[in-house]
């Protein structure tokens, strides 16, 4: 079945099973492989995309639910806050293997867009994505550095 979806500002039409999760449409039909598979059950966060700016697990989100909503993947993150988060990520040298970082960056961007001065609790509650390399304290540091960069 044909679906048209808006990803990173561009419209795409794909012909797929209506139940195909957005994750696999992005990766296989649109060639956007920055969004990853990690668990298939919305726990690990590596499949996180922004749907109308909200972090969403794309591995359990059927293509037929997308409709007109605006999808942002890591490849299309170009908001001011998003660019600042990426800059902070490099400053703090957050990434190790890199596999989880697209999801982390999108979640952090959403957090800071809505909560410019998050508390540690805000960060704990927003940043639920797993990182098996254990970069959590640098994710926290990255968020705090981004806050400072945004304020300046």
């Amino acid at each position: 079945m044909e679906f048209t979806l808006k990803v990173n500002g561009t419209s795409h039409t794909v012909d797929v099973n209506p139940e195909k999760p957005l994750l696999w449409v992005l990766r296989e039909d649109l060639g956007l492989t920055g969004t990853k598979y990690g668990c298939g059950t919305a726990i690990c966060g590596t499949c996180t995309v922004l749907i109308d700016e909200k972090p969403t697990a794309s591995c359990v989100y059927d293509i037929q639910e997308v409709g007109n909503q605006k999808i942002t993947t890591i490849e299309g993150l170009d908001s001011d806050v998003g660019e600042t988060v990426k800059e902070a990520w490099l400053t703090e040298e957050v990434s190790q293997c890199g596999y989880c970082q697209p999801g982390q960056i999108l979640s952090a961007t959403h957090l800071l867009t809505n909560t410019p001065n998050p508390t540690d609790d805000d960060i704990d509650n927003a940043m639920t994505g797993l990182c098996r390399c254990g970069t959590y304290q640098r994710i926290r540091a990255g968020i705090k550095t981004a806050v400072k960069l945004i304020e300046d």
């Binding site: 797929v16 099973n17 195909k20 999760p21 696999w24 990766r27 296989e28 060639g31 492989t33 920055g34 969004t35 990853k36 598979y37 990690g38 668990c39 298939g40 059950t41 726990i43 690990c44 590596t46 993947t73 890591i74 490849e75 993150l77 990426k86 990520w89 490099l90 040298e93 990434s95 190790q96 293997c97 890199g98 596999y99 989880c100 970082q101 697209p102 960056i105 960060i123 704990d124 509650n125 940043m127 639920t128 994505g129 797993l130 990182c131 098996r132 390399c133 254990g134 970069t135 959590y136 304290q137 640098r138 994710i139 926290r140």
Partner: protein, 700 residues
Amino acid sequence: MNITMKRRTFIKTTILGLTGLTLGCTEQESDSVPAVSHELGLWLNIDEDSKITVVVVRTEMGQGVTTSLPMIVAEELEANWEDVGFKVMAELGDYGESMTSGSRTIREHYEKMRGIGATAKEMLIQAAANRWQVDPGTLTAENSTVTHPSMGSLRYGELVEEAALLPVPEDPQLKDPSQFKIIGTSVPRLDSPEHIEGTSTFSTDIVVPDMLYAAVAQSPVFGGDVSNFDALSLDPAVGTIVKITSGIAVVARSYWEAEKALASLDVEFEHPPEMEALDNAAITAQLEAGVELEGAVFQAVGDVDEALDNADDTFTQTYEVPYLAHSPLEPPSCIAQVTSTSCELWVATQAASYALEAAVSVTGLDPSAVTIHSTLVGGAFGRKGEWDFVTLAVEIAKSMPGTPVNVIWSRKEDIQHDFYRPAFMAKFSGAIKDGQVTGWKGTNAGPSIMSRFMPGISPDFMSTLNFKPPYGIPAIKSSSVNVDIGVPVGFWRSIGASQNVFFIESFVDALADQLDQDPLAFRKSLLAGNERAVTVLETVADMANWGAPGVSGAAHGVSFADTNDSLVAQIAEVSVDKNNTENPVTVHKVYCAIDCGLAVHPNTIKAQIEGAVIYGLTAALVGQIDIEGGRVKQSNYHDYRALTLKDSPDVEVEIITGGTGIGGVGESGVPLIAPAVANAIFSLTGEQVTKLPINRFLLS
């Protein structure tokens, strides 16, 4: 590339004794291969614009080798760091063995990489000397430029074509480390930008034209297989069923379709009936029997039986740890394409040479017919040094010659078909006389990892890794018993140290308690004379303000290990609340001092220790693979829990350098956290944690 076959042959035999093959280009690099570039041996490529590419022969799995190895080359090469990039090794064979493991990349490559940089620098200087007709001794090299006081300067890019033709210096001069400008600095990691932008490619991200996808299901019970394969069928429009070793695969146009089709099949498995009796209780019983045996004695100092006989007091304790899965976020995956004459793999592997052997084994092809593209790895921790996922991918691809197949393991498949960190038990007896420990007897028992590679090995050197107490005790006897249980076992970050440091450091605290001594002071007394070790302990004690936890009601616990040629000590600040059944243990902060001799990229060392502590802490608090009816019970991150940001303490790291050796880092932070936390809990509650994981023990 402008290199003639003759010159390649010349380089082949002279550059540091390495033989030559053409440098290939990986998928990621093909956009950036310059029009004209020259190889200086296998390792280094410099183009006309003086852009320098270092071939990295170890797997990048987050530990930063794609930055640290080029740093070492760039230092001796006198390169402008801004112009340095990396390329992942594309071809096997001429770079030596390819396994990335054992925290040994820097230890094994430091001198070699220095030599490569220094060799190339001297050839570039000689090329300038030839062009200017001056003595090379009058030239200086700095920032990718060779300069003469009056002749001017030439960039490396202008010299490299001539340099590549020159004789290779046999004995290049290395820099004095006091002159280092790059080594020892935390330059921005070369791989970070692509991860941030989401453009980094792991094996599943690669697109090969006409590629299909596959999902696999192996027998859930170990040793089993599909029993009704011939009865299964699928609409060809939906997918193709393929028989694989111990299981079944479905190939489809999309991974999700493959998984869905696989789930729709009524697959029946059969297994050896005796496997049904294999469960946690049976495993514990086998380990308990094992530690009562003498086993293979691998350390005998003094007369420990005499010490135990003559002791004022003896103290005995037994500790147990479970099987652990690796569960890296990127599951095992491999793209394979097989024809009658070739096999090509794109794979996130720690061991391209094992992937090669697997491909040869399945296809029967000559190794020269196999091409391996080794990609970035989304977390490995030892899992991706195995080749089982390669074998299955090649089997699937072999069933449809010419079609590339992207095989992705589901999370469930990953957790239930691992090569687990072995379940282990250790029993210790300590002899105490006149307020001293006069004897130490320890036996550990568990499955042997190395038996897979070296049948009959006893003791298994992975089982004994770090089981010798690193302390001055007059009589010691250490032995190890192989217990063959039937669950596949393999290399989990820090391997034998992962259980043995918990065992040793827990018993040390038990003895300190028997002697009513402070655990840190006790360790220092047992390490008297080992200045490096005492320094590491004193450093971490200062960092933590040992004995005075910042959080009210918390306690400190300490651990020490000599691992991978590094000396490491950790202190954890811990609180316990058994009423909190989700998280009865709170680790407020972890402090780690590591003497690793040399710090090529200090920030990466810190990051590796930080991450290793979290990896080890996850295992310590909640890590358990339960075996029931001969199969793994856990299946995803909901029941094989990984700590989240909320659960994770900050880790403060101090790096001690200046020694004459180099210590490994990648695994070295892992094994100390379990005993540091357990020892803190002992201090708080008066009861030792004798069985991991800690949460389960405290709540039982």
